[in-house]
């Protein structure tokens, strides 16, 4: 039929144009990077079985981890407040309570052994030039180094919550939230969550003075962070729309993939934690996605019925015209 032929011609040209300006043009503008599934293939696998008891001794003692990191799960607060820590180290060292659940074990091991290498910031921290990473390498407590590191990782895993207990917000706050703010509040399961700053959730203040004090602290923290990173890491409120899931995942997996020489470290999250970070960014930047699917389905059903009636009406009216 002639009309169907015309429709086919219009459709072919439309789809061709779409293909050229969308998938094709974007493939030419941005190189495609495949995810490795957060396997961190460049890092050596853990070969030794860790002993958590011994690991605890090392973390608390010879490893000197708690000189900088808090472990709330063990009742140990951070040695410094966030702002002072950032002014000392550039960025606030994370609390280690959840590290065993959020980060890949072999990444943790590589990090303890040589932070600049595991974090992929050796271009910025070159020991031979005296540029020391603020986290010092662990050179061992006298025994087998790899065994000792395996013990420390086992300890961190033993105190960490189970994978399913890690919430999207926890994963984000620990892995990303000490550098990146999210100034959008968000509603999740009927509960309003405040906006996130690099020093934590922004509380509700009754007095303006208290709010200004808090904001001053945030600015002080950001100033230290800016000096450390070279630029203030961006607010991630709309990143799920501006970058999309694939970009964020492959970027987090290896920031050097896209920005050679960037100061952003590889943070070493495991695959589950990466999913949770994405979910958190969706909760913040695309919070109506479930509603969209639900309404979308209903509208499509309605429109199909409308189209059927429209076709029937046309047939009815045109019966006399042919």
């Amino acid at each position: 039929m002639k009309e169907l032929f015309i429709l086919a011609v219009v459709t072919v040209f439309t789809l061709l144009t779409y293909y050229l300006v969308e998938p094709f043009a974007h493939s030419q503008m941005h190189k495609h990077i495949e995810s490795e599934g957060f396997a961190y293939k460049d890092l050596p696998a853990l070969t030794k079985k860790g002993d958590a008891e011994h690991g605890k001794e090392l973390v608390m003692g010879a490893g000197a981890c708690v000189g900088c990191h808090g472990i709330k799960a063990e009742g140990m607060p951070a040695p410094m407040d966030a702002v002072t820590a950032a002014q000392s180290y550039g960025v606030n060292p994370p609390d280690l309570s959840t590290a065993g659940a959020i980060y890949e074990p072999k990444f943790l091991a590589a990090l303890i052994k040589n932070p600049a290498h595991a974090l992929m910031v050796e271009h910025k921290f070159d020991e031979s030039k005296g540029q020391m990473h603020p986290m010092t390498s662990f050179y061992g407590a006298g025994g087998d180094l790899d065994q000792e590191i395996a013990d420390m990782v086992a300890y961190l895993q033993s105190i960490a919550p189970k994978a399913e207990e890690v919430t999207p917000a926890m994963a984000f706050e620990n892995a990303c939230g000490r550098c990146h703010a999210i100034h959008y509040e968000y509603n999740l399961d009927g509960e309003l969550h405040p906006s996130w700053t690099q020093i934590g959730e922004k509380p509700v203040f009754k007095k303006k003075q208290d709010e200004l004090k808090f904001e001053t602290k945030v600015l002080d923290y950001q100033e230290a962070l800016k000096k450390y990173m070279g630029t203030l890491p961006p607010d991630l409120s709309m990143y799920i729309r501006s970058r999309g899931e694939h970009y964020i995942k492959t970027f987090v997996e290896n920031p050097q993939n896209y920005l050679k020489g960037t100061a952003m470290p590889r943070v070493g999250v495991n695959a589950e934690a990466a999913e949770k970070i994405i979910e958190h960014l969706e909760n913040v930047g695309d919070s109506k996605r479930h509603k969209r699917e639900e309404v979308g389905k209903n509208v499509m059903i309605y429109i199909f019925i409308f189209a059927i009636f429209a076709i029937l009406w046309k047939k009815e009216v045109w019966r006399d015209l042919h």
Binding site: L16, L20, A25, M29, Y184, F306
Partner: protein
């Protein structure tokens, strides 16, 4: 003074005062349309419906949008998209409709070109349609500024720079348009005004003119046949609908329009709910930052062909070529020297001209988006030359066209 009698019904009351029966007859039931048409003739109604979607969704967005450089981005991406009930739906409808409306406009334009619906008394239809195209382009551009994202800012910067006229260095004109040295508050405010008031008013006025321009020459038909509308209408009114070559606008034509609209809306709402990214560039979800130029700056897809006519040349030549591309479609009825107002398939060389123009514009569109490097800039350059060449050739190939 007219004589008024006591009304027998509300209908009669209105009829005495507004002549609604006459209006209905003139505008609907005895407004004659040729029967020999295909679904492409419904694009006008599809455009009207899409414009209505834009208008209604725009009114809702207007209630929450803040035309302020510090608030605009968050009023769109936070307030409207996340806080306001169904705000996300209005925004997605508005964004998708703004893109799809151009797809339909291009289909509508190329339908007109293919069937020769711009000649033999139909010149004003074409010209008013082209004015609508310009008004819609200005509306799309001004609207694109409003979310105040990175693409808003940098597209605003690049496009307003064009008014410096290359070597003319009319920087004063650029500053006058912007109200500042760079796009800032004054710029956002005036584009907001243009987008929500002045251009929509112009569009509504032009739509009336476009409809009015159809009235006397009547709608064209699939074979370019000249129809005696009065004789055919008489046949229709006498009850011989089957043999009449015309149909009534309401319900005959309208029922076919609505069938096409129904199918179109399936496509439209599929895009709104499941495939909206193409209409809302990801880069524009980064807030405007005058200190950080995006890696790739490109306009929305519907401006790419004319952008690519600008890009491959040196500044001055590019601007002249660009200006040529903006106005040349207006001249179509006068550059086509052939008296034939029939489908392109029956018009000899013009048939090839039509398909060459269509394909060339698609090539330009594609090359306008990809980075202008290597092979792409060569293809873009030759496609731009082909565009200009085709228009120069048009009067010659149509002059020698055989009369059908």
């Amino acid at each position: 003074m007219a004589h008024f009698t006591k009304a027998t019904s509300l209908h009669d009351w209105l009829n005495q005062r507004l002549a609604i029966d006459t209006l209905r007859r003139v505008l609907a039931t005895e407004y004659w349309i040729p029967k020999n048409i295909n679904f492409l003739w419904a694009m006008g109604m599809v455009l009207a419906i899409t414009f209505a979607f834009l208008l209604v969704s725009g009114i809702f967005l207007l209630m929450y949008y803040q035309p302020n450089v510090d608030l605009a981005f968050d009023s769109v991406n936070y307030t409207i998209m996340q806080e306001v009930g169904y705000g996300w739906l209005w925004r997605h409808v508005h964004g998708v409709a703004a893109s799809v409306v151009f797809l339909i406009i291009y289909i509508h334009m190329f339908t007109g070109i293919y069937y020769g619906s711009y000649k033999k008394g139909r010149e004003m239809i074409w010209l008013s349609g082209m004015l609508l195209f310009v008004a819609f382009s200005a509306e799309a551009f001004s609207g694109y500024m409003l979310p105040w994202g990175q693409m808003s800012y940098w597209a605003g910067m690049v496009i307003t720079n064009l008014f410096a006229g290359g070597s003319l260095h009319a920087d004063g004109l650029v500053e006058w348009i912007r109200g500042d040295y760079v796009p800032a508050q004054a710029f956002l405010n005036r584009f907001f005004m243009l987008h929500v008031l002045l251009i929509p008013l112009a569009i509504i006025g032009l739509i009336v003119l476009h409809f009015g321009a159809l009235r006397i020459p009547h709608v064209n038909n699939q074979d370019g046949e000249e129809i005696d509308f009065e004789a055919e209408a008489a046949k229709y009114k006498a009850g011989d609908k089957a043999n009449s070559k015309v149909i009534a606008f309401v319900n005959d034509f309208m029922s076919k329009d609505m069938m096409v609209v129904g199918i179109y809306l399936i496509f439209f709402f599929y895009l709104v709910f499941y495939h909206y990214d193409f209409a809302m560039d990801p880069v524009n979800f980064d807030p405007a930052n005058g200190l950080k130029t995006p890696a790739h700056i490109y306009p929305e897809w519907y401006f790419l062909w004319s952008y690519e006519i600008l890009r491959p040349f040196s500044t001055d030549v590019g601007l002249i070529a660009f200006a040529f591309a903006q106005v040349i479609f207006f001249a179509l009825p006068f550059l086509d020297r052939s008296p034939n107002a029939v489908p392109a398939s029956r018009r000899g060389l013009f048939k090839f001209w039509f398909w060459a123009m269509l394909i060339d514009m698609i090539v330009l569109t594609a090359m306008g988006k990809v980075p202008p490097e290597g092979m792409f800039s060569a293809i873009g350059f030759y496609a731009a030359l082909t565009f200009i060449g085709l228009w120069i050739a048009l009067p010659f190939i149509t002059k020698f066209e055989k009369k059908v």
